[in-house]
């Protein structure tokens, strides 16, 4: 066996985050509730630092390290960049919420940063083991975060559900991985990819693939493996829902790319069919069930399911353009989702969660500006131009037509129309209904500015989507 010094250099951002998490953990021990802002600031510094490190060491070349278990490529770096960005906003939005509910503890930040680290590992995984490592680091942190409000029955129930179902999914995934390992004798995705082309055990490979797709679908929240999504979204404190709804979707997308595209692209024909079923079901169930919801967090959970269906449509095309469209979709979705949950936090205050649809009544009277921000977010999610969400949908539809699956594009747009209804209902509630509670929005300036920037970004990037699209395309060498 060769002895070579591992190329640590390319994993610098991960190491930095790990070091900082430990530092935050230690420092937080010495903080009182009043001075805990230090923990918050330190966490944000970690994200900024990681972003700087990722950015300065960026290269379009693909590099490997740690005996080919770790990969650094353009797609990974761009995805990591958006993970930092969305978590930065998550921490920013979450702070007032946590403070008002006596949840402003170091745990949220430590767990959050560990989750970030997990996501980074997932994004950079080049072997089955690394994927699993990253996935579990993310998932375990999230389980604990959901249970952060430990006296709340709903939160405990959600955490329990999330944990059990998540563990089940991980088990499925692991089982699938063991099949792949058995058939190819390797954990390295590059080797698996070569072996898969002419495998002498095709049946085992397909068998393993099925379990892998199940595991992946679970993490994405695709129907019929979606049952945890609404319960967890609704039961968790909004600050945690915000977290779950944003960057982990980017990481899940990365996992799909690593496992199914880097590893099993030669079996595309098999997983494409599974993805068609998963995505059509997700679009149908997500969009139709969302209509029946009265809790906005639950409604957004079903909307997430539908969005994940759309994302999978991009992936299943099996072309570079399709992957780039799906990546664009994921990033856009994370931006919109962060904004939408941020709005719920903006309207909430101590003792008032603002998680019912009716809590948005008459927002236009209360604050025309934030009603407009929410309007932008909702129309963007519905896929109405000129907002960013429209271009995300168009890029995916375009690839579907490109691979001669126009019928699938038609199915997707039909469900988008159904989906438009519940987004419109929020706008109806904000603009057409009269205000019921006249309390003013009294959140700090940083939250207001960040949320405004979030909404404006959706509008401005919607008017000029070229650069972001080009960035996604460039990571796939287009």
């Amino acid at each position: 066996m060769d002895f070579a010094i591992p190329n640590y250099y390319i994993a610098i951002p991960e190491m930095f985050v790990l070091g900082m998490v430990c530092l935050v953990l230690v420092i937080d021990l010495f903080m009182t509730d009043k001075s805990r802002t230090v923990t918050y600031l330190l966490s944000q510094t970690t994200l900024v630092g990681a972003a700087v490190l990722t950015f300065t060491t960026f290269s379009y070349e693909t590099q490997f390290a740690f005996s080919n278990t770790f990969v650094r490529d353009a797609m990974g770096d761009v995805l990591k960049g958006f993970i930092y960005l969305s978590i930065f906003f998550v921490f920013l939005y979450a702070r007032p919420y946590l403070q008002q509910r006596n949840l402003f503890k170091g745990e949220y930040y430590v767990l959050g940063l560990f989750a970030v680290l997990g996501m980074m590992v997932m994004v950079s995984a080049q072997s089955l083991l690394t994927i699993y490592l990253g996935l579990e680091m993310l998932a375990l942190s999230l389980y604990a975060m959901v249970a952060l409000k430990r006296d709340s029955i709903e939160a405990s129930e959600s955490a329990m559900k999330y944990f059990i179902l998540g563990a089940l999914a991980s088990g499925m995934l692991l089982y699938g991985m063991s099949m792949l390992y058995g058939a190819t004798q390797s954990l390295d995705l590059a080797v698996i990819s070569q072996q898969a082309v002419n495998s002498d055990m095709p049946l085992v490979m397909v068998f393993g693939l099925v379990f892998i797709v199940v595991g992946v679908a679970f993490k994405l929240g695709a129907v019929p493996f979606h049952m945890w999504v609404p319960d967890v979204y609704q039961g968790s404190p909004t600050a945690v829902t915000l977290f779950i709804g944003s960057a982990p979707k980017i990481a899940a997308f990365a996992m799909v790319m690593r496992l199914l595209v880097d590893g099993l692209s030669s079996m595309h024909i098999h997983w494409q069919d599974m993805f068609i079923i998963l995505s059509v079901l997700s679009l149908a169930v997500g969009n139709i069930f969302a209509i029946a919801q009265t809790n906005i967090k639950r409604m957004l959970a079903y909307s997430t399911i539908a969005h994940m269906g759309f994302l999978m449509l991009g992936v299943l095309s099996g072309t570079k353009e399709g992957y780039s469209a799906a990546m664009f979709y994921t990033i856009v979705y994370a931006m919109m989702s962060v904004g939408a949950f941020g709005m719920i936090i903006l309207l909430s205050r101590a003792g008032f969660e603002a998680d019912q649809l009716n809590d948005f009544k008459g927002l236009n009277d209360k604050s025309p500006w934030f009603a407009l921000v929410m309007l932008i977010l909702m129309f963007s999610m519905a896929g109405v131009p000129p907002f960013l969400g429209f271009w995300a949908k168009v890029s995916v539809l375009k690839e579907l037509v490109h691979i001669d699956m126009t019928w699938l594009a038609v199915v997707a747009v039909v469900f988008s129309i159904i989906g438009a209804f519940y987004y419109l209902r929020i706008i109806k509630i904000m603009y057409f209904d009269k205000m019921e509670d006249s309390s003013q929005i009294s959140h700090s300036l940083d939250l207001r500015i960040a949320l405004s920037a979030n909404g404006l970004a959706i509008l401005v990037l919607g008017l000029l989507p070229g650069p972001l699209m080009a960035l996604c395309a460039a990571t796939f060498g287009l």
Binding site: N364, P368, L375, F379, V384, P385, P386, F390, W391, V394, S395, L397, K398, V401, H402, T406, A409, V410, V413, V414, S416, I417, A420, F421, L424, R425, I427, K428, Y431, F432, P465, G466, M469, A470, A473, L478
Partner: protein, 505 residues
């Protein structure tokens, strides 16, 4: 000098940015500022659209005032603008109507004035965008974005059932347009371009053409609206505030018809030719059946809404009769008359329907009722107003000398070339239109004063008089001397006909 200015971009962005500026005036404390800025912006936009008319070269069918910029490279989408003889008059109609709508809302709107005015200005910019976009994606963006301000206008300032009406409006039109989106993307992969003019020359086989035609049909038929997808319109009209109804009837319906001219006919001529019977039948149903429906309405706005559907049936009839003329006579002579008549009808209906809704608005502002039964003998208390109302009603009924006559007459003449019975059925509108419009006028304006409320009515204010007088001039002007309009559109229509005469198979 004007040629160097990006005139179309200015026309699109002046009202949109003006709308943002109006929004910044904030609460109703600054309502007057909001109104003044809005009026200024709309007048400036109207003034900017006049050079479009003045400097328009009527000798050519090529696109004029063109602009082109890269927009989204990886998507091959460009910001391409330009107008021809069909879109230019519609742009002027848009800027003209918006000024009137802003004036019409001056005293009536008391709640969230800035948002109301801003919505109309932004909508104006987006509608001009639709008329001037020469890139299919850009067209689609404007086309869809336009729904947002209208959704808000109906929902916030509308009548009692506004929520139902506005969501229905949005979902119907959204439903229509997403299929168009898929069709556009499909064509992109056939022709590797989103440029509308290049799509005009794209070869497509008949199956593709028919599917694309149907996708477009859903989008445009909902907007026009054609029978049987018209049911959103009466709801939307009844619930919308007066300004919303005017924009809906005068401009938004024209967008659907414009879509047929810009997309369906030139891109899928063979499918249009194959399916012409279906389109003609649907148009005739709109003209006749909806005419009867209008006859029995009790609500004035609903009556005008149905009359709009019926009149728009003439427009689609004019577009598709040309294929039948060709099939029956083997030549395209006389076909131009049908399309030109349809376009004249579009412009004229823009004036007339706008005017009709404004007259209803005048009454509604005073009595807060749109029921025909609540009125009677209004002429006794509002003689000046009644004069205007009768004029507009006459032109709605297609009286010679008013603009309503020109378009209908041209379409009927051209229908005679195709088939006597089609022309005969289409001509029944002259009776039906007269029946439902004049009967309404009779019940509302003539006779004895029906009740005390009517007895207390005050005649027009100066503002209302100005608005209606401007419209009256437009209606009569177009009716007596439509030549300039015909001259503008002539080469473009000829070019369009030459284009659709060539099979793309």
């Amino acid at each position: 000098m004007f040629f160097e200015l990006p005139l179309l971009s200015l026309l699109i962005w002046t009202p949109i940015l003006g709308g943002v500026l109006v929004l910044l005036t904030g609460s109703d404390k600054n309502a007057l500022e909001a109104k003044v800025i809005s009026l200024l912006v709309s007048v400036v936009t109207f003034a900017l659209s006049l050079p479009l008319f003045g400097l328009f070269d009527t000798a050519t069918a090529t696109m004029q005032f063109t602009e082109q910029h890269r927009w989204i490279e990886s998507f091959n989408v460009n910001y391409t603008l330009g107008v021809d003889g069909i879109s230019m008059p519609l742009i002027v109609l848009t800027t003209f109507t918006t000024v009137l709508v802003i004036m019409a809302g001056w005293e009536v709107i008391q709640y969230k004035v800035a948002q109301y005015m801003a919505a109309f200005l932004i909508m104006e910019g987006l509608m001009i965008g639709v008329f001037s976009a020469l890139d299919a994606m850009l067209f689609y963006v404007f086309w869809e974005a336009m729904l947002i301000p209208m959704f808000i206008v109906i929902g916030v300032w509308g009548g009692p059932r506004r929520v139902y009406a506005t969501i229905k409006f949005f979902l119907y039109t959204f439903l229509g347009s997403v299929f168009m989106l898929v069709a556009l993307i499909y064509m992109y992969f056939q022709g590797d371009t989103f440029s509308i003019l290049q799509l005009h020359t794209l070869k497509l086989n008949l199956t593709e053409q028919i599917l694309i035609f149907l996708a477009f049909l859903i989008a445009f038929a909902v907007k026009v609206p054609m029978w049987p997808v018209h049911t959103w319109l009466p709801d939307a009209h009844v619930e919308a505030p007066t300004g919303g109804s005017v924009i809906l009837a005068a401009i938004m319906l024209k967008l659907g018809a414009y879509g047929f001219l810009r997309f369906s006919l030139p891109i899928t001529p063979d499918a249009s030719s194959v399916l012409d019977i279906m389109m003609i039948v649907l148009s005739l149903i709109a003209v006749i059946y909806i005419g009867f429906v209008a006859l029995v309405q009790q609500d004035m706005k609903k009556l005008i809404a149905y009359s709009s559907i019926s009149h728009m049936g003439f427009v689609t009839l004019g577009f598709f009769i040309v294929f039948m003329i060709y099939e029956n006579t083997g030549s395209w002579n006389g076909a131009a008359l049908g399309i030109e008549g349809a376009i004249v009808q579009m412009i004229s209906h823009g004036f007339i329907s706008g005017a009709m809704f404004l007259t209803v608005g005048v009454l509604y502002d005073r009595m807060h009722s749109r029921e025909i039964g609540a009125y009677g003998g209004v002429i006794n208390t509002m003689p000046v107003f009644a004069g205007f109302a009768v004029l507009f009603a006459m032109s709605n009924a297609g009286l010679p000398g008013t603009s309503g006559f020109v378009g209908e007459f041209m379409v009927i003449l051209s229908a005679f070339k195709a088939n006597f019975w089609i022309a005969f059925l289409a001509a029944t509108t002259l009776i039906l239109g007269a029946a439902y419009t004049l009967w309404m006028v009779k019940r509302v304006f003539f006779g004895d004063i029906a009740n005390d409320n009517v007895a207390d009515l005050k005649d027009l204010t100066t503002r209302e008089f100005t608005i209606l007088a401007i419209l009256a001039v437009a209606v009569l002007g177009l009716g007596v001397y439509p030549a300039p309009l015909l001259e503008v559109m002539g080469p473009t229509v000829d070019n369009l006909l030459q284009h659709i005469a060539q099979s793309k198979l």
